[in-house]
Each structure stands twice: as C-alpha cells, then as structure tokens.
Symmetry: C2
Subunit: 375 residues, 2 copies
C-alpha cells in the first residue's frame, strides 16, 4: 500500500488522520501514518501551544495542519479580525442567539465560566485563518497543509509549496477536484457524502473514482467511510493513493473528550447521523439530536450561513464539549462524525487502530487474491 505520497512525506502507510487532538497527531505519525491537526477551533496563540507540544513529542516525524481559507468577504477584506467579528455580529438576529441559548439552558448545560456567550469567529474567515497558516508555516516538521473548504488562493498555495510542503484541499464534487488540480495542489481529499463534517451528497463509492480520474496525475485521498482496512483496500482499488480519516480518531484512547461524548459516538449506528446546517451554517454531517431537530422545525429560526451561524453556535460548541457529561448535554451537543460511526464500537489505542487497518487490508487482499483462478 506504499504510494508515491508516502515517499514524498516519508511515511510508511498512506493513512492520514484528521484530528483536533495533538496527542492523536503524534500517536498516528509514530505508528507510521501522518497526523493532521484541525486548526479551525484554535486561536493563533492556542495553535502555537499545540504545535510546540507536537514538535516536542513527535521526534523527527512529519505532521500536517488543516485550516480553512475561504475567500475574503466583499468590502470587509481589510478589517482586523476584531473589527470583522463586530461587523458580523451586527448581522446576527437576536432571535437566533436567544434560541440557541435556550436549547443549551433547557438541556442543563452550564454557562461558560466567564459568563460570555461568544466564542468568537474561530478560523472560519480569511482574516482569522491566515494567522493560523502563518503559525503552521514556521514549523519545519509540518510537511502538509490541507484546506478544508475550497481551493486555497494562489498566493497561499505558492507560500506553502515554497517552503517544501505539500498543499491539498478537500472536495465533495468532481468539479472541485478539477479546480484543485488546476490550482496546482499536491493532493486532493475526495470526501463522499457518508463523511463527517462538511461533506457533499455524492456517495464515496461513486465520488472517489471520478475524483481520481478528474485529478490525475494528482493523488487523491479517500475520505468518507473509512473505518477498517477492508474499506481502505476498497478506496485503493478505486485508484486512491491513500485514506483521509476523521471519525476513527474521535474515540481512541488518546483523544481528549469527555466520556459522555465518546459514549454518544460509540453507541451510535450508521443511521444516527444527519446532514445539518445548524452548527456551522454549511451542511455538515453529525450525530442527530434535539439540537439538530430543533433548528429543522418549521416554527423555529432557520440556520444562518457561514460564518454567522458559527457565531450563534460557538458558545454551544465549547460548552457541550466541556460539559459533555453534565445534565442532558448530549441532547444538544455538537458531535460531527461520519456514517462510519456505526462501525466504531469500542475504544482502541491509536497504534492499535493503525495496526488493525494495515492487518485488515493485507488479509482482505489475500482473500481477494484467492478468488482468482490459478494461472
């Protein structure tokens, strides 16, 4: 399963692990894959702290950072992050804020310690994402930058590649794969509709081979539905150069999460997820619960777009993560995850997951080879 991109990155297996947890990043890279830290939830100062820790613990191994570089907002391009946030808050109806707060209160989710109801803009805007990228680019062992939404602007692509790093981006449509290729990206992550987070609605089995054809010779990593080595073999059978996994790492030993949050994930079936705009403003796959149902009803506010809905829900994201086990928090918690959650039913160590993926892959390949007539 050793592909060209393994060689370029100096990794043993083409297993890319997207995670918000630095411990998982380090453990994946140490087990022969490559950990990719999702940076969107961090301030630049927090990201610096996380990357310092990773640099200290990862030895000489490579890792990646995943950011979100959207286009600038028309007429707001020159604002500071603080000014931009202030302007954006003016566009949020009070009704939305009150509705979100009521859902949290009704479920018994404690207030944030400082009593504020805003988590800020996070890295969802050009103004807030750029400092995150700049921080990542100061790290020699950060060998890969992925953009979670859309093709990164040409100046950012050049900046990343000039430092000898690989730059890639996610896509959920064949058209986007072509756009990524035309922008000169080094790899493309094709995420099928099964996937957690911001996925499209074309299924992995149909999307992956079309993305591979559209992007060639740029390597495509398969995302959306990878939980086992059999699924990894399936992705590679369709021409993918590796797998981009996310859901798989939410419940590993090394993942920082409250037990109640891990339990929600471990107990969920593949039918317990939904694509909803209720957290980020864009369609995002997550566990179904009362929060997702509440924003979907006819007599409640409609979710705003990105990044406005993120302002409304940000306080809920941090509170439901921190107080995951308090009250009926899980009824309104943000648990982005793919349909593969139904196959993840117990806690494993990161190393065990990587080892399992590789072993299952090899066993499945052997079984398939045995179905062929002897030559």
């Amino acid at each position: 399963m050793y592909t060209e991109i393994c060689k370029k990155l100096g990794i043993e297996y083409p297993i890319f692990a997207f995670t918000h947890c630095r411990d998982v990043v380090v453990a994946v890279s140490k087990a022969g894959g490559i950990g990719v830290l999702g940076a969107v939830g961090f301030s630049p100062e927090e990201l610096k702290e996380e990357l310092d820790w990773i640099d200290e613990h990862i030895g000489d191994l490579p890792y990646g950072v995943d950011i979100v570089i959207p286009q600038k907002y028309e007429g707001m391009g020159d604002m500071s992050p603080e000014e931009l946030e202030k302007e954006l808050w003016k566009m949020v109806p009070q009704e939305h804020i009150d509705f979100a707060q009521k859902l949290l209160t009704d479920a018994g989710v404690p207030e944030w310690p400082d009593g504020t109801h805003s988590m800020g803009l996070l890295g969802w805007t050009e103004a807030t994402a750029t400092p995150l990228l700049m921080e990542a680019l100061t790290r020699p062992k950060c060998k890969l930058i992925a953009n979670a939404l859309g093709t990164p602007p040409a100046d950012k692509v050049k900046m990343i590649q000039d430092g000898g790093r690989l730059v890639g981006a996610l896509c959920g449509r064949v058209k986007q794969a072509k756009a990524h290729k035309d922008a000169g990206l080094d790899f493309i992550v094709a995420q099928g509709g099964e996937g957690g987070g911001h996925a499209g609605d074309v299924g992995s089995v149909v999307l992956w081979p079309q993305a591979v054809a559209a992007a060639a010779p740029v390597p495509v990593l398969a995302a959306g539905g990878i939980g086992t080595g059999q699924q990894m073999l399936a992705a590679m059978s369709m021409g993918c150069a590796g797998v981009w996994t996310g859901s798989l790492w939410l419940t590993v030993e090394e993942a920082h999460a409250e037990p109640a949050q891990k339990d929600s994930l471990l107990n969920a079936s593949s039918e317990d997820t939904i694509r909803s705009r209720s957290w980020t403003g864009k369609t995002c796959r997550m566990l179904k619960n009362e929060w997702t149902a509440a924003w979907d009803r006819a007599d409640t506010p409609d979710p705003l777009g990105m990044p406005l809905q993120g302002l409304v829900s940000g306080d809920g994201i941090r509170r439901t993560a921190r107080y995951a086990s308090v009250g009926e928090c899980q009824k309104v918690a943000f648990n982005p995850v793919g349909q593969v959650v139904g196959q993840i039913n117990h806690i494993e160590s990161t190393r065990a997951v990587i080892f399992r993926l590789v072993t299952e892959y090899v066993d499945a390949l052997e079984r398939i080879n045995q179905l062929m007539p002897d030559e």
Copy 2:
C-alpha cells in the same frame, strides 16, 4: 472473483443485472453474469410473454426474477386485485390526480392511446405480486427470485426454495440484513444510498461491510454505485460475494428505451439525482427534473404513500417512457437511477460491459498487488 454463489447458480462471474428488459436479461446471462428481470411493471400476462421469450433465447443458462412482496393490507387481504384497486382509488384525492395530469399536459406528453389515466396497481401489492411470483415459479431456468422491498413471507420463501431456487431480498439497513438472514434467505442485496430506486440513506462503503458482518454466512451482493470493475473490486474487498447492478443496464445497446431517455441518463452527472417520493410513494433515487421539484414545493400536494402515489403517477410512468422524446417530456419523466449515472457516458453492448467489468477488476487487483512490498 468466483464465489460460492457463482457455483450455486452455475454462472461465471458474480455480476447480477437487474433490468426491466428481457433482451438485457438474456445478454447478461450469455456473457457470464446473470440477468434478473424486474417484474413489478408487468401484468401476469405480460410477464408470461416476457419469460416465454427469455426461455426461448437464453439456451440452458439461468436467470432471475425480481418481484415486490409487501405485507397484506389490513382488512383488504382477501380482495381480488380488481376490488383492491377500486378500494385504493377511493383513497386518492382528486387534487393529486389533477396535479399529476397537469404536469404531464404542460410538458406536452401525449395521452395514452386509450385515453385512460390509470395504469393499475402494478405489482406493488401482495394481491398483484403473487401471480407474478407464481408465473416465475413455472420456469425451470428461473433459478433466482429477489424481493425488492422487505423480507418475503415465510410461505413464499419455502415455496421458492422447495423448487430448488435461491431467494434473496434487498436491504438498505443493517437491521434488515439481519431480518433477511433470520428468515432463511439464500442471499442478501445490500444497497447503499447512492443506489437508484428504493435505497436508504447509508452510503455503500459503510453499509456493505456491516451487512456482510450481520448476514454471515449468508452471502451479500453489493448494490448502489457499481459501474466499473474497480468498484466491483471495492465491493469484494469489503467482503461482498458479488455485485447487484441496475443503472449500468439502462443505456446498453440492448435496452429498450427511447433515445431521449437514454440521452437524459448519459448526460447526467452524479449530482443530478435526487431521492424523491413523487413517483412510488417511497423514497426512491431518480434523475431530478421538474416533476420531482413540483411535488416538493410547499404549495403543491404532498406525495401519498405506496401504493397510492403509484396509482397517481402510473399514467405518467407509462406515458413518459413511451413518449420520452416528445415535447418536453424529459422534464417530467420517471428516470430511476443511481448516482453512478455520472460514470455512464456512452452506449455499450451488454457483453462489452461485462467484459469491461471483469477486465477492470483484474487490472485494479494487479495494480493493488504491486503496491505491496515483495515478500
């Protein structure tokens, strides 16, 4: 790729082709797979004619028949098909009939020659499906019966198996796979959300391996997203015993369809399908068009359930098939198909499709084997 079910059926490749066209049934079986005739659209007399033709042309090769055996309607179980249809029509609001007819008229779709607006119940009820099954069971070369919706009743399972035939059923959920296994079925078709027709919403990559685990040792055939040998290898990598294909046969040379209908399919991308209740009353994947949009608007009638919506739409099904190239018929035509339609862009012969699947499978396997380190 030779699996146990190939041996049982006496076929060379585990490629199952669901089609409404007898010519395709024969051509698939002759090319080494097995053709399965979808019987739901036929009256018993019509089915007899189709099976006579198949028996005459298929030589000694096996074929299958796909029917729909739903549970009986409470209190209607003893009615004749004619009485049942009359009772069901009483439950259809005139508003729905008028709305459907207006959509057809506005698109310039000619009336059915006899001026009627009803196609009848088709095989969607127990009363109408049973005669179809009985007809199929008179045919020695019909070696396989598949039930398209739900687990067949125990008496039907016994009847089919007693004749030395294999009986299977489709499923879109892991729970259904278990129920099928418990009912003693011989094979299970697991159809992911990508699939055309009545599919669930769990993606193939996630559904298939879970269905395989739940059904073991009953063999699972992969449906939903199979258009190439690479996809077939992917399905087999995840433990499936073969593939169940449908969309692939809509545009082959041998398929009876008006050129405009084939063109609609050949030109569609994977993003041009939608899951809609507007034709059969159950969620069904098909090409998006004005018909699907019209039934989805807030100010128009909501689709009825099955089989009532089928009474409303039946006239549209037959008229948009027969007059597919007339006026703006394609805007309101019934084109059930999976997302894999985006990968089907030119007309091939049935034999060429089977040959391509096998060749692509072998080539993909060879490529995958080359990625493994030499031992």
